[in-house]
């Protein structure tokens, strides 16, 4: 007997080594898993895009053969799928693999299913016809006893799911809202949020369940429900005013450190949660004194507590300030918030400066004196090396332009316009300059000159309203006859001079304006 046992024991090491040796069926698996590595190494070794295309097309055709072959096991399919994902990420079409991704999710074991679901979420989109084939698998996985499978199904539902099939899975997901495991409840809430986004009328009847999620004993689930509430309150804040009390209580508890220590991030209690709650409160308190009164205490507390010097504390402070200015005003809070903004704008850290400027832009309508306090810094920011800061400053200045400072401000804007190449920025700025010029122009000459500059830079990309308005203005004129005459005269003269200049390229719209002005107004 002992001989046989001995033989078994000596054979066992051979068993374990079998998987790692290169040879036999296990060897094929090993060489497969290094195929992705081989592909990536191959691509990095190439120098030209053309060669990369060739290599990837080769890879794709060999993958196509493998996935369609009947002898391919699910394990090999999993490996092929990862390579397909890689090729699609680089921009090459691999649509032959989509149906196999779905099959992998349907038939594979846990790991293969995971890759299949990942591939489906990356390859397909909501209106894709193949997506309907996935619904059965999702339904099956939602009812599985294996929690990982349920999680995977919920994840895929929140990434992509065909709208028409929502009724098929809705009751199953609602069920999961009462699951004993916190992670499942949380994922179920987010999946339902996705349904709310794509088909809000289908989830009308379960708003009560959202309320339950808000009061869930697990903070994670409550935090997930805040996403839904933020969206719903944004669309219709009056329907949820009664929840203000609950939000205030939750925020009080968070700020007061009543949450489990796990939720601390660099010793700040649940910062993202605080930010979310502050935003919701901002929406609820807008233009509503009674509701705002409920929040003053907790806002005061948050402003006080956020003393540490970490990025995330600044995030909370910024949100606090934003909320304080959104809701019905209270002078002490406004003062404190103004001080905060001051600190941001004067901070040497660039991110904070940017946020300070952004806050000022928001605040300026309600409290123009604040900008005056910081004018020196603002002027410095105009010449800041970072174009984003410059642009934010120009945004701010746009809002505080008046007849006195319009010339300087427009000049700075034009300087910035000349430097920037991005179409999006040009369109934006050109619109603003035109608006300011029209509103605050001190004299005709300046107005025409500015508009000329605007047309020559903005040219073809600007909104057609701008030249149209300009021409209409010239045609109809203001109330004063002599003023109009002078304006038109100046316009005609300047355009004639401009057209005389040789070797200059004017954008199409500018040429149109010039020719129209000269033709219809010169007499």
């Amino acid at each position: 007997m002992s001989d046989i046992v001995e033989k078994t024991l000596t054979a066992l090491p051979g068993l374990f080594l079998q998987n790692q040796s290169v040879g036999g069926p296990a060897g094929v698996k090993a060489s497969f898993s290094s195929r992705l590595g081989g592909l990536v190494r191959g691509i990095t070794a190439l120098t030209s895009k053309h060669e990369e295309e060739k290599l990837i097309q080769q890879e794709l055709s060999s993958l196509k053969a493998t996935v369609s072959a009947p002898t391919t096991t699910l394990k090999m399919m999993k490996e092929c799928m990862v390579r397909l994902i890689y090729c699609e990420m680089l921009g090459y079409d691999a649509s032959f693999g989509y149906i196999h991704a779905i099959k992998l999710a349907q038939q594979g074991n846990l790991l293969e299913k995971r890759v299949g679901y990942l591939a489906v979420s990356l390859f397909l989109h909501e209106n894709h016809e193949l997506l309907l084939l996935l619904v059965n698998t999702v339904v099956k996985d939602l009812q599985s006893t294996n929690l990982v499978e349920v999680c995977m199904a919920l994840t895929i539902v929140s990434q992509i799911f065909p709208r028409e099939m929502i009724p098929a899975v809705l009751p199953l997901i609602e069920d999961k809202l009462q699951h004993s495991k916190e992670i499942i409840r949380r994922k179920a809430v987010l999946a339902l949020y996705k349904f709310y986004l794509i088909a809000p009328n289908q989830v009308q009847h379960i708003h009560i369940k959202f309320r339950k999620a808000l009061c869930d004993r697990d903070v994670g689930v409550m935090a997930a429900s805040l996403h839904i509430y933020f969206r719903m309150i944004k669309e219709n804040s009056s329907g949820y005013k009664d929840l203000t009390g609950s939000f205030v209580t939750i925020l009080k508890q968070v700020v007061g450190g009543k949450l489990p220590v796990d939720f601390n991030y660099h010793s700040v209690p649940a910062p993202w949660l605080q930010i979310q709650l502050l935003r919701i409160l901002g929406l609820l308190g807008k233009d509503d004194q009674r509701t705002s009164e409920l929040m003053y205490d907790v806002l005061d507390e948050s402003l006080r507590r956020a003393e540490l010097n970490h990025n995330v504390t600044y995030a909370i402070l910024f949100e606090c300030v934003h909320t304080v200015y959104s809701i019905y005003p209270k002078s002490e809070l406004l003062e404190k918030a103004a001080k905060c903004i001051g600190k941001f704008v004067l901070s040497p850290k660039i991110n904070l400066k940017y946020l300070g400027l952004k806050a000022l832009t928001y605040v300026i309508q309600q409290d123009p004196t604040l900008a005056l306090q910081h004018q020196m810094t603002i002027i410095e920011c105009l010449d800041h090396p970072d174009p984003i800061i410059k642009r934010e400053t120009l945004e701010l200045l746009y809002r505080i332009t008046n007849a006195q400072n319009v010339i300087v401000i427009v000049q700075k804007m034009l300087e910035y316009l000349h430097q920037s190449k991005e179409e999006y920025i040009i369109v934006n700025l050109v619109g603003k300059i035109a608006e300011l010029a029209e509103k605050y122009a001190p004299d005709n000459a300046w107005f025409i000159q500015t508009m000329n500059a605007v047309f020559s830079v903005g040219g073809d990309v600007m909104h057609p309203d701008i030249p149209n308005n300009f021409m209409r203005l010239l045609a109809e004129g203001f109330d004063d006859e002599t003023e109009d005459q002078q304006l038109r005269l100046y316009a005609v003269q300047s355009y004639l001079t401009l057209l005389d200049v040789e070797n200059v390229f004017y954008p199409q719209k500018f040429l149109q304006v010039m020719s129209w002005v000269d033709a219809s107004l010169s007499f």
Partner: protein, 190 residues
Amino acid sequence: MIQAILVFNNHGKPRLVRFYQRFPEEIQQQIVRETFHLVLKRDDNICNFLEGGSLIGGSDYKLIYRHYATLYFVFCVDSSESELGILDLIQVFVETLDKCFENVCELDLIFHMDKVHYILQEVVMGGMVLETNMNEIVAQIEAQNRLEKSEGGLSAAPARAVSAVKNINLPEIPRNINIGRNPDHEPGAC
């Protein structure tokens, strides 16, 4: 809401691309290229927020990015997200990658792209932030990894044991033990 999460290296090669809103394929590639060009122009000591460029959506969206060694992590978000909050979220994501991969580097993202996606799925689900605590995320991933080991190990073990026994080189067992009839000897005793 988060529109897209892009990770690419200093040469613009995409390492992770996840869109939470529908864009056709060519547009997706264009967005990656455009984002790369926008982000490349930035020095290292200016602010981490950018306007989104014309393709990915206009004035409501911004790009929040961080540069770590050879990789750019870019989150494209709309105005409902806090900029500094997202900056810290990127930090949490990178720290989680570091924990799961032990001193993560670009090669890990290249060769284990699917694992990176699974980690990302635990942080951001459907464009909404699901979990921000690094330890929780790592716990979820380890639960999945444990299943990986058990799938390979336990369920396959009986089959392998059977085939191992079959392959053992047993000596020829004599069929006929002629020991003669002796009441003192017990059959089967060796």
